[in-house]
């Protein structure tokens, strides 16, 4: 186990996701206490004091986000759990939806109470099937037990929830794109100002939080901010669900305490690389983060500061272990193809730039690369960075510049020799 566990604290069985099992583990007791004994502001204060960070990739303080919502503005507020989970390499929110849906629901009720939200939503990517069925079933169970609806548990607090299914669009994982989709339109992200906590869903104050961020709220309120802060590091409290995949022996979802040794995580908890393979590099937190070589990863601990210090980021916790012998040119090609496919097309640098990047790398892979192509890839990425309506421009930039910085030689080789240095292999080589 990679450090202290806060969420993955029970064995997953055939029934562990049900209301009965959840209540058996103490579920909904915290909600009861909140409704009986706490004020909305106090809940927000506790969450802020805990230092809970966003777990969707941006790591923004949840308490600070909640604090922007004016509780005295006499207008509807909305809360939305972001279950779009489209960042390649990431599949950890899915674990919560499938195995701990009631933890999410109880946390959302507590958050809704804090933010005076009458209508809450879970926006779940359209492709997810079992996760959707689990959370939808949990909602029905929760309604039947009186945890949603009017005057919950005899209090004055009422709350309804809708599970809203997306339909296939990566940018709907971006908070404003998500809300555009939730309004029944294309998932077009929006410029800020105004912030979503001021004008979000149908122009009302809206808090969008990642599923995992919200899932932590119950524990924080149950045990208190102090107890939460004892987990993780001083600057980076708590844990992160990490989805690890790639050429790793034991892929899956692990809860990693912030500050845990990366070496230990990769080579003990996850079993190291597949038989006969050696680690070349990792994608740390979804493909929109800069890759780190095996040497760079070795001394790191799993927390925001350590990864930032190495020039990358924990991102969405979607870690991909890449073995020696994997062609990084082909890998970037797959990534750029993805960004090109997912660009919503609204703003100039992304709409035109993603296609441009994709065409250049396709040309390199086809053996028609030119010496100035590497500079072009850099230049286009830098020109998108910070210039787009949403973070897509930055994302493609991190992916591209990260790989170019560390593996320029492979690109130069392909351009010069019109073929891959590593046979275009994506499956890594197996060492005898």
């Amino acid at each position: 186990m990679p450090g202290k566990q806060l969420l993955m604290t029970f064995p997953v069985t055939a029934t562990s996701h049900t209301l009965a099992d959840y209540v058996g583990r103490g579920g909904y007791a915290t909600l009861r206490r909140v409704l009986d004994a706490m004020k909305s502001e106090d809940v927000t204060k506790e969450v802020a004091a805990s230092g809970l960070l966003g777990h969707g990739g941006a790591a923004f303080s949840a308490g600070r986000k909640w604090g922007v919502v004016n509780l005295n503005d006499h207008q509807p507020h909305y809360l939305c759990a972001n279950a779009d989970e489209g960042e390649p390499g990431t599949f950890k929110d899915r674990w919560i939806l499938e195995n701990a849906p009631h933890l999410l629901l109880e946390s959302m009720l507590i958050a809704a109470f804090a933010l005076q939200v009458r209508n809450a939503f879970v926006y779940i990517r359209g492709e997810f099937d079992l996760p959707y069925r689990r959370i939808a079933a949990a909602v029905e169970e929760a309604y039947a037990a009186g945890y949603f609806g009017e005057n919950i548990l005899g209090s004055e607090f009422s709350c309804d929830i809708v599970i809203y299914r997306g339909a296939g669009s990566y940018v709907c994982g971006e908070a404003s794109g998500l809300l555009s989709s939730l309004e029944g339109k294309r998932g077009y992200p929006r410029n800020r100002p105004p912030r979503l906590t001021v004008q979000g869903l149908y122009k009302r104050p809206t808090v969008v939080n990642n599923v995992e961020t919200l899932a932590n709220v119950t524990g924080i309120i149950a045990g208190g901010a102090e107890a939460y802060r004892k987990v993780g590091t001083a600057k980076c409290p708590g844990t992160q669900l990490v989805s690890i995949s790639g050429h790793i022996a034991r892929p899956g979802v692990y809860e990693v305490e912030y500050g845990y040794s990366m070496q230990q995580f990769l080579f003990d908890d996850c079993g190291g690389m597949l038989p006969g393979q050696k680690l070349k590099c990792i994608v740390p937190g979804g493909i929109s983060t800069k890759v780190l070589t095996a040497a760079e990863v070795a001394p790191l601990t799993f927390d925001h500061q350590s990864f930032a210090g190495a020039g990358s980021s924990i991102g969405s916790g979607g870690m991909i272990a890449i073995a020696e012998g994997t062609c990084m040119v082909r890998l970037l090609q797959v990534m750029l193809r993805f960004y090109h496919h997912e660009s919503c097309g609204q703003c100039t640098p992304c709409r035109e730039g993603m296609g441009w990047l994709h065409k250049i790398i396709d040309r390199i892979v086809a053996g028609e690369g030119r010496p100035d192509d590497i500079d072009s890839l850099y230049r286009i990425s830098r020109l998108q960075d910070g210039m787009t309506i949403c973070g897509m421009g930055d994302a493609a930039g991190y992916a591209t510049i990260g790989i170019l910085d560390k593996y320029r030689d492979e690109f130069e080789y392909w351009i010069t020799n019109k073929r891959s240095k590593l046979e275009g292999n994506l499956e890594g080589t197996v060492h005898a």
């Binding site: 703003c347 100039t348 640098p349």
Partner: protein, 480 residues
């Protein structure tokens, strides 16, 4: 009133302004494609970027609220570099159609390319291709390759004309502006405004397609006579120095197109499609020969004959035109008003299928100067004409008179511009000039007076619609 600093200069901004608005209002030019002062903020073109002093990045200014003490730079090296880069992105897949594109000469993309980029493309990749001759409606052609997806047209149909006719389908660089499948743009009487606000040559007028290069054309300010709103328009026709030699002389005296002339007091920057089609009104077959009872005569002879009839008439009635200008109506009143019982005729009634009235511009009275006529001749003149039994002369001026309603025994002097069977029926028929051949003013329904200027010379054989009344007015007693 927050004070901000643009390029070091203090500017008094208004509380709810954006930096772009404050800059434009105070003489600083920041380029923009997707922003439009009448539409919501889209913030997608990314060319309006500015640099907040002290920051090492640029941000769009169309969505940046002003705040006290804000210091921005609109022309720093960083801003210029980003503008150039944005132009490279925008033109990355843009076809170099200028040689055959109607927008050339009035194209924002051309202007900005030369101002902010000016270099050939740095990309050697094949361009994305898309539909080039898409019938967006019966009146509008769409070239998707030229489109920069600024969404102005979409926002116009959502926010101004409210037809919700347009949207953007697909996504990424295969996004396409499209109308809904049930072709609602045809039913949008304001559809053609999207042609004006399109900053590139993507949305084109089909009637105007490939008719003329805009730099050969001159816009003459005028007023649309289609209804009593009297929208300000520009009537475009060949500049005198660019008149075509040979070919049909009509080419040099025809209306190439009509566009809105921005007028905050009347129509803002918009007009309805009827105004676009004014050529269909003004270029109908003209009456160019004076006649007496159908027999062609010289203009002078007809004028003399009319003068004689008017002198001899004891109980003349006049039906004046509400397509006449304030000046022409005054001229009539001065020369003949004392003699005639005057009614103001409605020259045009709404056509079948025409929008009668709406919340935007269109008014039910399809005539430009009822108000001007009312002011001169009084409310009573607007009633149905009634003819006392002793009516011996009716002066009919303009269209829309049903001759069957005129008293059988009266002589008829008819002033009209267009070919009509009634022209031959009148005792004296005098062809007169039309709006594009005169200068004058109309008074709209709200009392706003707007001027129209002359576009073309009147044909030699027709009378000037203002001067003719002094000519047909009888002289003092004892003179003809």
């Amino acid at each position: 009133m927050p004070e901000i600093f643009i390029n070091g200069k203090p500017v008094q901004a208004e509380a709810n302004q954006t930096v772009l608005q404050a800059a434009l209002a105070n003489g600083f030019y920041i380029p923009y494609f997707c922003w439009h002062k009448e539409l919501s903020i889209a913030g997608n073109c990314r060319i309006c970027t500015v640099q907040v002093e002290g920051r090492s990045w640029v941000e769009i200014s169309c969505n940046m609220p002003v705040s006290e003490g804000l210091h921005v730079l609109t022309d720093s090296d960083l801003v210029r570099a980003h503008r150039k880069a944005t132009m490279q992105f925008i033109t990355l897949n843009h076809p170099v159609d200028c040689g055959i594109c109607d927008k050339a000469g009035e194209c924002t993309l051309q202007d900005y390319h030369f101002a902010y980029n000016g270099s050939p493309s740095v990309s050697r990749e094949p361009k994305v291709h898309a539909t080039k001759f898409h019938d967006l409606s019966e009146r509008i052609l769409l070239d998707n390759e030229r489109c920069i997806l600024c969404s102005r047209c979409v926002r116009f149909t959502r926010e101004i004309s409210k037809s919700n006719a347009l949207g953007i389908k697909n996504r990424g660089d295969v996004s396409l502006v499209r109308a809904a499948d049930d072709s609602p743009l045809d039913a949008d009487p304001y559809s053609d405004n999207v042609i004006d606000i399109c900053p590139v040559g993507a949305l084109l007028s089909k009637p105007f397609l490939h008719k003329a290069r805009v730099w050969y054309l001159k816009p003459t300010p005028s007023v649309c006579p289609g209804c009593e709103r009297g929208c300000s328009v520009n009537i475009w026709h060949r500049k005198a120095e660019w008149h075509l030699r040979a070919l049909d002389p009509k080419q040099n005296t025809s209306i190439a197109r009509v566009t809105p002339l921005e007028n905050p007091a009347v129509n803002g920057p918009w007009i309805c499609n009827k105004g676009r089609d004014l050529a269909q009104v003004f270029e109908r077959a003209r009456a160019d020969r004076a006649m007496q009872k159908g027999k062609p005569v010289e203009l002078e002879a007809a004028i003399a004959a009319a003068r004689k009839l008017i002198k001899e008439a004891a109980h003349p009635v006049a039906l004046v035109s509400n397509w006449a200008s304030d000046e022409e109506l005054s001229a009539f009143k001065d020369a003949l008003g004392a003699r005639f019982t005057t009614f103001v005729k409605r020259d045009h009634a709404p056509q079948p299928g025409e929008v009668i009235e709406d919340d935007l511009l269109i008014r039910a009275d399809k005539n430009p100067n009822t108000a001007g006529a009312r002011a001169l001749f009084g409310e009573a003149s607007l009633r149905e004409p009634s003819y006392p039994a002793n009516t011996d002369l009716v002066l009919v001026w303009g269209e829309g008179c049903n001759f069957a309603t005129l008293p059988a025994g009266a002589k008829i002097v008819f002033l009209n511009s267009y070919l009509a069977p009634e022209n031959g029926f009148a005792d004296v028929f005098i062809p007169v000039s039309i709006q594009t051949e005169r200068a004058g003013h109309y008074t709209n329904f709200a009392g706003v007076v707007s001027a129209f200027e002359r576009c073309f010379a009147k044909p030699a054989t027709v009378a000037d619609a203002q001067e003719v009344f002094a000519q047909i007015a009888p002289g003092p007693a004892g003179t003809p």
